[in-house]
Amino acid sequence: MEGRRSLKIVVCVRRVPDTAARIRIASDGKSIDTSDAEFVINPYEEYALEQAVQLKEKHGGEVTVVTLGPEKTTQVIMKALALGADKAVHLKVDKIPEDPGSIARAIANELKGSEFDVLLFGKKGVDDDNQQVGPMVAELLGIPCITQIVKLDVSDGRGVAHREVEGGSITVETTLPAAFTAEKDLTVPRYASLRELVAARKKPIIVKDVQLRALSLEIISVQNPPPRPPGKIVGKGVDAVPTLVKLLHEEAKVI
């Protein structure tokens, strides 16, 4: 083990419907019916969790998972524990609210007063695509936050992260505690073995009921995206190329 002290690491994990799952607009026209969907751990948190476990392996310490979600989130918690987290806090609500600010406040309340060095998030939930909860929690806690990171090194109470941005990458150094949001290339997530899945059942899960405040961001309706006009097969092979260029110019008017 390197480094002078062990690390307390928190990873915030979101339960999301599998992308391939069918999504239906609920009968009220303003919510999503996910009853057919299979749920998974949000893909970006797999990178965050793997980073957490690697930091623990290097420096020693403990990884806590925090998730806000309905009863059924237990499944996702089990997966996170199997991937190497040591314990979990489940903030229980009927459903995940659509307002990221509301989620962030509940998570920040839970973390306020607790000690940690590294707070990890995914870059975004692949369901709501908000990309907000991470920096919001950090602002509420008054700690630095570096978003969209593809690399993180921690030593001596400092973190150095690379953010992936348009046209390049930015290196940012920060004191700890600090928050980070994981981009896809941060780590290569591992698979949980059967043994770890079994061991996960013995790890502690603290369940708390939380009250959410009134929503600041509200869904007023959900619509199907307009269908794309039916496409056409221009033809086969090289012979179709001149027609394609003609269509792009004359019909689609994009060249």
Partner: protein
């Protein structure tokens, strides 16, 4: 009383990003609907001249924070300036581009202003003085119409969806400087490494030529680069080719990559999985080249060619060369 429309205009070097000009144009539209002024906050380095050009896109006034320390986005510096400008302006609507900077800054501001952000919007409208934003969610399977109940309403706009328009040629905005007093920060922004001398970012490109596993190996992307060059575009990739190590992650289009909306998206040797589709379905025109007539991508491409990329792509490059040579 309705407050002004404030647009955070992001720069890249001594120029505004295209996505920022799109936001300024859209901000003008909303300001007209609300009969208020549009005020633009420009943060960066070397923006004095470009700032006065923002009038063309509709800005009535530009608040300018210009300092070498602001050349690269620093959350604490930018937050401080934005909050100061917001205090001066007291806006009812705040817009920013949904870039890495916009999406980092907007939620931070929302916490300080006790309000909310609608992210990655593709359409904005006003209803009874409230901002209603349309945004895709659930891998593009649905469009949400959302309302921010608190004021100011903040929205980030997906790049390339709104058009930047020089609607008011010759208009000069008033420019007001805002002093930058470096705040204490626990973060140090150390360096910005560009990926080579190139190139437009995928999210801002108007032509993208993307290659997938069907490209067979990293060396073969050369034919896509040649096509992209002829068309003034950039090369993207599917996750399969990024995971294979053929292309960098920054080129990846899709759910765990970039969300793009170019005028023209050419998918070569890409099957069209839902996770890829979500990243590019908002492209104006999609062209697919795939040797498998059953490939999913033909289900949502506007134009398809069934064929081998190694034959079709070079032929397309030649044809495009001839086309551009003529016009």
């Amino acid at each position: 009383m309705t407050g002004e429309v404030l647009v955070l205009a992001e720069s890249s070097g001594p120029a505004f990003r295209k996505a920022a000009l799109e936001a300024v144009t859209e901000g003008r539209r909303l300001a007209d609907l609300l009969r208020v002024s549009e005020i633009v906050l420009a943060i960066g380095n070397g923006l004095k001249d470009p700032a006065s050009e923002l009038g063309k896109y509709g800005a009535d006034k530009v608040i300018l924070a210009d300092d070498p320390l602001l050349a690269i986005f620093h959350p604490d510096y930018y937050r401080q300036i934005a909050l100061e400008a917001i205090k001066r302006v007291n806006p009812s609507i705040i817009l920013a581009a949904a870039t890495s900077t916009g999406k980092d800054l907007a939620p931070r501001l929302a916490i300080h202003l006790d309000t909310a952000v609608a992210s990655e919007c593709t359409h904005l409208e006003m209803e009874n003085g409230k901002l209603i934003a349309t945004r895709p969610a659930y891998a593009g399977k649905v469009l949400l119409r959302v309302k921010v109940n608190s004021s100011p309403s903040i929205a980030t706009l997906r790049p390339n969806v709104f058009t930047a328009r020089e609607a008011v040629p010759g208009k000069k905005p008033t420019v007001e400087q805002i002093a930058f007093n470096r705040p204490d920060s626990r973060m140090i922004v150390k360096e910005f490494v560009t990926q080579g001398a190139k190139k437009l970012d995928l999210t801002e490109a108007s032509v993208i030529v993307s290659g997938g596993r069907g490209m067979g190996g990293p060396q073969n992307y050369k034919i896509l680069e040649e096509l992209a060059e002829v068309m003034g575009g950039v090369v993207g990739a599917s996750r399969a080719s990024v995971d294979a190590g053929w292309r960098p992650h920054s080129d990846q289009v899709g759910q765990t990559g970039r969300t793009v909306s170019p005028m023209l998206y050419i998918a070569a040797g890409i099957s069209g999985a839902i996770q890829h589709r979500v990243g590019m379905i908002n492209s104006k025109v999609i062209v697919a080249i795939n040797k498998d007539p059953e490939a999913l991508i033909f289900g949502f491409a506007d134009y398809g060619i069934v064929g081998d990329v190694f034959e079709v792509v070079p032929a397309l490059t030649r044809e495009m060369k001839a086309f551009y040579g003529k016009t």
